[in-house]
Amino acid sequence: MQKVAIIGIGITPFKARYLDKTYFELAYDATKLALEDANKNGADISHKNIQSTVYGIYNELFERQFMPDIFTNSYLGMNNKPGTRIATGGATGGYTVRMAYAEVASGLSDLCLCIGLEKCNDCYDEQTGVTTPEVLNAIAYSADMTYEYPMGMMAASSYVSMVNAHYEEFGNPTEEQMAYVSVKNHGNAMNNPKAQSPMKITVEDVMNSRIICYPFKMLDCCLYSEASAALILASEEKVRELKIEKPVWITGVAAANTDCFIGNREDMGRLYSNIYAAKAAYKMAGLDYNRIKSLIDLAELHDAFSGQEVISYEELGFVPFGEGGSWIEKTFEKSGEGPWIEGELPCCPSGGLIGCGHAVGATGIMSTGEAALQLRGEAGKHQVTIEKGRAISHSIGGPGAAYAAVIVMANEEGLKQT
């Protein structure tokens, strides 16, 4: 297998709605930004140099178009080259990075465009005169259409089932501990100009926000966004040929699908997909699961819901099972006023999904791009201290959050230390 590096990163702002752009126009913007970034990073390339594309687009109902990838392919000027679409719910972004990695690592492509996009708020609920209930309905079609959808299952009730089961087993995360995540991620987004929901809020604000799905409240939930995010992936040979100044190497990629029926799982309060994906990704990168917290500089996590981030701390190996709640509490006691980009292991310095918004297909690519920018020291006002030269991004999604993907990255320093 060839070594693979991220050489260009392009992320559009995450917004509630772009009235001035279609989904493929957003993809064009992200691609152009990624090409410009690669060229700032030493390359001299255009879209004509791209050999293949992997598209991360979650939901046909959002785009109002089946096979939206081929229309994007045309608009991006990628005709007569291979393009493949990945759709794995909220984990679409992470899985797309994994498949784009495979394109390059396998030698099928030396220069691959890895692009995610989503434009959800074209959905519109005529009865309430707003978009959200119809967006949620388009998502709810991802639940089993015979056994689950007719029960009123949706994204929040699916995640809350796991969080409630975890609470029953371990007594956490409490509502306050979940609120800490919301305060942290909304707060971190204040330093990210591309974020949709930057907010300086208090634990009380979260606790007093309207109930969505017991015990999740409005501010525990991410907002759906419209955005596109693109990465340009290159083989080691190409990195040398193009004289890339700051390559960020992808050193581990792994994914796993746990049972999509939550009721079939042995442990409803645990996402085994996270555990399997994390262990495999760390192993590929030569990192110890039990020591991971001390081996990376930051983690961009999939915090679709605050309680899920707390559980992810455990599944991704940062803390033992049952200690996620007390870990966020400790972080909060230390730097309650924020920003939360220092300490043991900064999680979601970008603001995560709660702070940035969730443009499903683009989200995991944005998180990976954000982590890569951090490793280049170019994250801007939310730059964390880079000592180890390694970071991870994390994506989950689908019915019962069955899909999970974990990506491990390293800069040149981080690569030497491994």
Binding site: L19, M154, M218, I262, G269
Partner: protein
């Protein structure tokens, strides 16, 4: 070049009609509709009881046989939904949860109805019992669960009835 941008929006709706087969799981829906029975399946090799039913065991790759399950069970996990999709927004608040029927190993997602819908009433460990619509069409919405102590009350309503067992 400073022409003001005007966006153009088009109203539209995607609708597809279906008459889909439940294939190997058909018997579950037929027995639910005609006889108010809840059927699971039991693997002929490992003995695992599948609910929702599958006629093949995904662990052993061997056939599974139909078995009738109890209509009582225990809540494994639940929630109350206060904001939801366009299709269900008129139904809020509603309770849903994963219920392990007595004797089954997997838990079934179902609606949990209660005359007093508060988290404590439908929390983990609470005993529930199936209540059926009198007018059944062979869909999952033909039945729901209620707390054991509300059962008699629910089946006394004109639109609902109790199951066999």
């Amino acid at each position: 070049m400073s022409e003001e941008f005007l966006s153009h929006e088009i109203r539209d709706k995607i609708a597809i009609s279906y008459k889909y087969t439940m294939g190997g799981q058909s018997k579950f829906f037929i027995e639910l509709m005609n006889n108010k029975k809840l059927l699971g399946t039991k693997c002929t090799k490992c003995g695992k009881i599948w609910m929702p039913p599958r006629i093949n065991c995904s662990d052993c790759y061997t056939p599974a046989n139909w078995v009738e399950l109890k209509q009582t069970g225990t809540i494994e996990v639940s929630t109350i939904v206060w904001y939801t999709t366009s299709a269900f927004i008129k139904a809020i608040p509603y309770g849903i949860g994963f219920i392990k029927l007595d004797g089954a190993e997997t838990a079934l997602l179902q609606g949990i109805f209660s005359e007093n819908l508060v988290p404590s009433k439908i929390k983990k460990g609470k005993k529930v019992r199936a209540v059926f619509n009198k007018d059944r069409v062979g869909k999952m919405t033909d039945f729901f669960f209620v707390p054991e102590d509300e059962y008699e009350n629910w089946i006394s309503k004109s639109e609902y009835e109790g199951g066999e067992s």
